[in-house]
C-alpha cells in the first residue's frame, strides 16, 4: 500500500469552558490516500468540522489539540510553527467552506481575492496570476470568466459564488481539499452541479478530497470511503459500498435507515430515537449506548475500539467484535 497523503492518528481536541473541558474530538484516526475522496458524516457537533479545522491548523482558540498527530505526506503538520503552517494552507491543503454567501470578502472583487491568493503561493506576476485566475474561473464553470472576474461577490448567485470559492481553494493546486458541507447552504438544484465540479476538478489534478457532509446521498455518489463520526469519536470507517450495504455500527445503520432512497424496506425508514449527547455529558462506555437498541452491559462500561469487520472496514462496536469472532 502506498503511503497515505494524510494520516491522522489518535487526534484529541479539547475546548476549555467555564464548566470544564469539552472533548470535541476523542482519539480519531484515519488516512486519506492521494487522489482519494473520503466522505465524513455525522450530526452537527459530532466533530466533522473540528477535524477539518485541526488538519488545516485553524482550530478556534481556546480549543487545542491535546494529543495525537497529523501527517501530510509523512511529515508532521500539527506542531508546525504558525508561519510554516500558513504556507501549507492554500498551497498544499485547500479548504471550501459551507456558505458561499459569507465566504468571500464583500468589499473586494473576485479578481483581487484570487490574484492575492495565487501570488501568496505561486511565483507569478500580477498579469500571470490574473491569467491563471481567469483560467481557474473558466474551469469551475463561470461563464465569461474574463469579464466577470472584476465583479464583486454580490454580483454572483450562490452557486456561482461557491464555484468562485472552489477556484480560490484550488488556486495553488493543493494535494488535499477539505470541503466542509460545500452544498448545504445552496439551492437543491445546484447542489449536484457543485459536487460534480469539485469532484471533476480534483480528479483531474489528482487532489484528494475530504468531503464533510451530513448528506449520505452525496457521500454515496461521490466518496470512495466514508468515515462516520459520533460525539467526537470514530464510529465506523470503510469503503462506501461496504459501509452502506454492511453497516456494522448501529448508529451507521440508523443513518442509512434515515435515507429513503437507499432503503428498499420502507418499514425500516425510522429516525434514530433520542439525540447525540452534549460533549460535557458523554456517557461511559460507548457514546451511543443510550440510543442503541442493541446495547448490552459491556457497551455501558467499556468504550469499544475500532474493530476490523472486513478488509479496510472497521467499526467501534462490541457487536462487531462478536461477529468477527463468530465468523472466525
Amino acid at each position: 500500500m502506498t503511503e497515505p497523503l494524510l494520516s491522522v492518528r489518535d487526534l484529541v481536541v479539547e475546548f476549555p469552558t467555564r464548566r470544564g473541558m469539552l472533548r470535541a474530538l476523542d482519539g480519531v484516526s484515519f488516512d486519506i490516500a492521494p487522489g482519494e475522496v473520503l466522505g465524513m458524516v455525522g450530526e452537527s457537533g459530532a466533530g466533522k468540522s473540528i477535524t477539518g479545522a485541526a488538519i488545516i491548523g485553524l482550530i478556534e482558540p481556546p480549543g487545542r489539540i491535546v494529543r495525537g498527530e497529523i501527517r501530510l505526506a509523512g511529515e508532521r503538520i500539527d506542531n508546525l510553527p504558525p508561519e510554516a503552517m500558513r504556507r501549507i494552507r492554500g498551497k498544499r491543503i485547500g479548504m471550501v467552506f459551507q456558505d458561499p454567501l459569507t465566504s468571500l470578502n464583500p468589499l473586494y472583487t473576485v479578481a483581487r481575492q484570487l490574484i492575492e491568493t495565487i501570488r501568496v503561493h505561486l511565483d507569478m506576476s500580477e498579469a500571470e496570476a490574473r491569467a491563471h485566475a481567469i483560467g481557474l474561473l473558466d474551469r469551475v464553470g463561470i461563464p465569461a470568466a474574463a469579464r466577470r472576474i472584476d465583479d464583486y461577490p454580490h454580483h454572483f448567485s450562490g452557486g456561482m459564488r461557491q464555484r468562485v470559492v472552489i477556484a480560490l481553494a484550488l488556486a495553488a493546486e493543493p494535494e488535499l481539499v477539505i470541503a466542509d458541507e460545500p452544498t448545504t447552504a445552496l439551492d437543491v438544484s445546484v447542489q449536484s452541479q457543485i459536487i460534480d465540479v469539485l469532484k471533476e476538478i480534483c480528479a483531474e489534478r489528482g487532489a484528494a478530497v475530504m468531503l464533510i457532509t451530513h448528506d449520505m446521498g452525496v457521500i454515496a455518489e461521490t466518496a470512495d470511503r466514508v468515515a462516520v463520526l459520533y460525539a467526537g469519536r470514530m464510529a465506523e470507517i470503510g469503503p462506501v459500498r461496504d459501509v452502506i450495504l454492511n453497516a456494522s455500527h448501529p448508529y451507521t445503520s440508523g443513518l442509512m435507515a434515515s435515507i429513503p432512497t437507499l432503503v428498499q424496506d420502507t418499514d425500516r425508514l425510522v429516525q434514530i430515537p433520542g439525540s447525540m449527547p452534549r460533549l460535557n455529558a458523554i456517557p461511559s462506555g460507548c457514546a451511543f449506548n443510550p440510543r442503541c437498541n442493541q446495547a448490552f452491559e459491556r457497551c455501558r462500561i467499556e468504550q469499544p475500539p475500532l474493530i476490523d469487520v472486513a478488509p479496510r472496514h472497521a467499526a467501534a462496536c462490541w457487536l462487531a467484535e462478536e461477529e468477527t469472532k463468530n465468523d472466525g
Partner: protein, 328 residues
C-alpha cells in the same frame, strides 16, 4: 445612485427648514425685538411705525420667508449682548473652533482606530486590558472634568502648558486666524484638543474593537486564513477595511459631535470659539446669536451626514447596486 443622492439632499433640506422654523420662532417671538432696539422714551406710535417698517406686522409666512432669505445671505441680525452683526461675531470665532475640532478629530480617529485594532487583535494582552479599563473610565468621565484634570496636571502642577486661551495667532488672508503658526498657539492647542478628542477617541476605539472582533469571526476571514494569506494581509487587508465601513458613519457623526462638545471645552479653556460665544448667548438670552448658532450647527451636521452617506457609498460596493437600501 443619483436618485439616492437627490433623496438625501431633499431630506437634508427638510431638516434645515425645520431648524430654520425653530430658529425663526425663537428670533421672532422671544422678547420684543423693538424694545431691544429702541430706548424707553420712544412713543407707542413710533414703535408701531418701526414695526411696520421692519415688517414685523407682515403675515407669518412672509416674515419667515424673509428670515430664510436673510439667513441664506448670512444675515442673522445684531447681537443684543455685543451689539455687533451676528455673522461677523461667528466668523471671527469660527477659525478657533474649526482648528480645535480638526486637530482633536484627527487625533481621535488615528488613536481610536489604532487602539481599537490593537485591542481587537491582542484581546487578552496586558496592554489591551489596560486600554479597555482606561477607556471605560474615559466614557464615564464628563468632558469638563477631563479638562480640569488636564489643567491641574499640566498647567498648575507641571506648568508645561498654558491653561487658557489660544496663544498668539497669525491672521491669514480671507479673515482666517490660525494658531498653528506660532509656538504658543500650538502649545495652547494641546490640552483643549486632548480634552475634546478623548471621549470621541474612546468611543471610536470601542466601536472599532467591537466591529473588528465581529469581522474576525466571519467566514470570509476564516476562508482568507485557510487560503494561507499572512496574518498581516488578513488583519489589515481584509478585516480592517470591513471594520471601517460601519465605523465611517459613526466617526463622521463624531465630527459633528466634536463641534458640539467644543462648547464645553471652550468654556473650560476659555477658548475664543463659537461654542463659548453660544454658551454666553444662552446665559444672556441673546436670541439672534442662539438662532444663528442653531442654524449653523444644523447645517454642519447635515453636510457631514451627506458626506458620510456618500463616503459609505464609495467604500461599500454592495450599496452601489442596492441603492442604500441595505442601511436600514
Amino acid at each position: 445612485m443619483l436618485a439616492f443622492i437627490i433623496r438625501r439632499i431633499v431630506q437634508s433640506a427638510l431638516v434645515m427648514l425645520v431648524v430654520a422654523l425653530v430658529a425663526f420662532a425663537l428670533f421672532r417671538y422671544v422678547g420684543d425685538p423693538i424694545s431691544s432696539m429702541v430706548g424707553q422714551e420712544t412713543s407707542l406710535a413710533d414703535r408701531e411705525a418701526l414695526r411696520t417698517t421692519l415688517g414685523l406686522n407682515d403675515p407669518f409666512i412672509v416674515q419667515f420667508g424673509r428670515f430664510i432669505g436673510n439667513a441664506i445671505q448670512g444675515d442673522f441680525g445684531i447681537s443684543y449682548r455685543l451689539q455687533q452683526p451676528v455673522m461677523e461675531l461667528i466668523l471671527q470665532r469660527l477659525p478657533a473652533t474649526l482648528e480645535l475640532a480638526l486637530v482633536s478629530g484627527l487625533a481621535a480617529f488615528i488613536f481610536g482606530v489604532s487602539a481599537g485594532v490593537y485591542t481587537a487583535l491582542n484581546r487578552r494582552g496586558f496592554l489591551s486590558t489596560g486600554i479597555m479599563a482606561v477607556s471605560l473610565i474615559g466614557v464615564s468621565l464628563p468632558t469638563f472634568l477631563i479638562g480640569i484634570l488636564l489643567i491641574w496636571l499640566f498647567a498648575v502642577e507641571l506648568q508645561w502648558l498654558p491653561s487658557f486661551g489660544r496663544g498668539d495667532t497669525v491672521a491669514l488672508p480671507g479673515g482666517w486666524t490660525t494658531g498653528f503658526l506660532t509656538s504658543s498657539g500650538r502649545q495652547s492647542l494641546i490640552l483643549p484638543a486632548i480634552t475634546l478628542g478623548l471621549f470621541q477617541m474612546t468611543l471610536i476605539m470601542r466601536l472599532v474593537r467591537a466591529e473588528m472582533l465581529e469581522v474576525l469571526r466571519t467566514d470570509y476571514i476564516k476562508f482568507a486564513r485557510a487560503r494561507g494569506l499572512s496574518n498581516r494581509t488578513v488583519h489589515f487587508g481584509h478585516a480592517l477595511k470591513n471594520t471601517l465601513v460601519p465605523v465611517i458613519t459613526i466617526t463622521g457623526l463624531q465630527l459633528g459631535a466634536i463641534i458640539a462638545f467644543a462648547i464645553i471645552t471652550e468654556t473650560v479653556f476659555q477658548w475664543p470659539g463659537v461654542g463659548a460665544l453660544f454658551i454666553n448667548s444662552v446665559r444672556a438670552v441673546d436670541v439672534p446669536v442662539m438662532a444663528a448658532y442653531l442654524v449653523l450647527i444644523a447645517l454642519i451636521f447635515v453636510i457631514i451626514n451627506l458626506i458620510v452617506d456618500l463616503l459609505y457609498y464609495v467604500v461599500d460596493p454592495r450599496l452601489r447596486v442596492e441603492r442604500g437600501a441595505a442601511r436600514h
